[in-house]
């Protein structure tokens, strides 16, 4: 329960922080994606599954027009990462960056298909595709920052 609340509070903080980034910047870093990847690498499906869906819905509450879109996208992403997590060295920092790269592309793809299959309006795919290069860049930057913060946090814990 403690872990659940920790992730939810962190997710809420990330989602609210994203709303404060001006839209004029064209692309915003997807901070919740980093959280989903961490969940996929560390948490079992019983906790990680519902949590990733909840985090997606949290983002939906602050973005877009329909609740559940990002819930579905993040759940699929979580399950994909979870399915290969056993074969990966979750301690490697390079792995997280690779996962950020791959999951940004996958997220775009899942979004296009989800919107294409379920939504009546079909021009989002163009925006998703054009935003992918910028999104990759800012997400990798955010990933680097995330790794740095994790390193500082673990050093601080050891110091305590």
């Amino acid at each position: 329960m403690k872990t659940l609340f920790f992730y939810l509070i962190l997710g809420l903080t990330f989602a609210v922080a994203e709303t404060l980034v001006p839209q004029a910047l064209f692309v915003k870093p997807n901070l919740l994606l980093l959280l989903i990847l961490t969940l996929g690498l560390r948490e079992q499906v019983i906790l990680g599954g519902p949590l990733s869906w909840l985090l997606g819905c949290l983002q939906d509450a602050l973005s877009g027009t329909s609740l559940g879109l990002y819930g579905l996208v993040y759940l699929i992403l979580y399950l994909m990462v979870r399915s290969i997590a056993g074969h990966l060295n979750s301690e490697s920092p390079v792995l997280l960056l690779f996962l950020v790269f791959a999951s940004t592309l996958l997220k775009g793809l899942i979004l296009i298909f989800t919107l294409g299959f379920f939504a009546e309006h079909g021009t989002y795919w163009r925006q998703v595709l054009t935003a992918i290069p910028g999104q990759l860049f800012v997400n990798l930057l955010a990933g680097l920052l995330f790794l740095q913060c994790s390193a500082w946090l673990s050093r601080y814990r050891r110091h305590l």
Binding site: A15, Q23, V27, L62, S63, A131
Partner: protein, 272 residues
Amino acid sequence: MLELIRKYRTPLLVVCLVMTALLIYSSRLRKQPETTLFEKAILQLASPMQRGFDTSTSNISNLWQHYLWLIDTSQENDRLLGENRQLRNKLDQVREIQLENQRLSALLALREQLDIPTLPARVIAEDATSLFQTVIIDRGLEDGLHEGLPVMVPEGVVGRIIRCSARQSRVLLATDASSAMAVLVQRSRARGICRGRGQSLTLDFALAKEDIVTGDRIITSGNGGIFPKGLTVGNVSLIQTNELDLFQSVVVTPAVNFSRLEEVLVLLENGP
């Protein structure tokens, strides 16, 4: 006599001197504006000396104050820098208030123009992702808002409310891909549907035979029950026609700069 003078030499000299001084003084009192030759000569002589003294003292003073005794200068510099910073801050605040005043005046003028009751609101946050085009305003159910109400600024249509909580609402901008509104070309009255494309708009279902040219103003048609008739949407910026197509492809540049939304007006009743 000489003996007497010699005897009282000193007192007599004193009296003569005093009398002379008095006489000269009293005679000069009547001719005050004139400068005597004596005065002129003295002034002429004194002038280079005074200048030299003045220059050298000011040089010494400068040397002392600017190169040797700098404690006061340093303190004064710090004080002036602090004062400068404060004044700059105040100036920035005044400029910001001035700009806000201009925006609010424009909003007020629009409010007075419209027959429909309106409610001003402030944009407090933007969409959490860069894919969707929504903003959050600081008014909600408690202020009488509900889903579907149109939102605008003096330049034109902003969008409509899609989510409402007690004190906040989310507005779907006209440029979002899921946004669509019934519009018409103001000049030729050609009808169509304006859809969002992220940064611009497209005019869909405009028949190829319709008279539309670049620069035409697009306004809301009043159909659809959301936006009242006659609100500015944007201007036609690109037209592509194909002989085989039934419709022409029209790109519309929005009248509103969506990246700089700060204060908006919510129309409380959907007019005809």
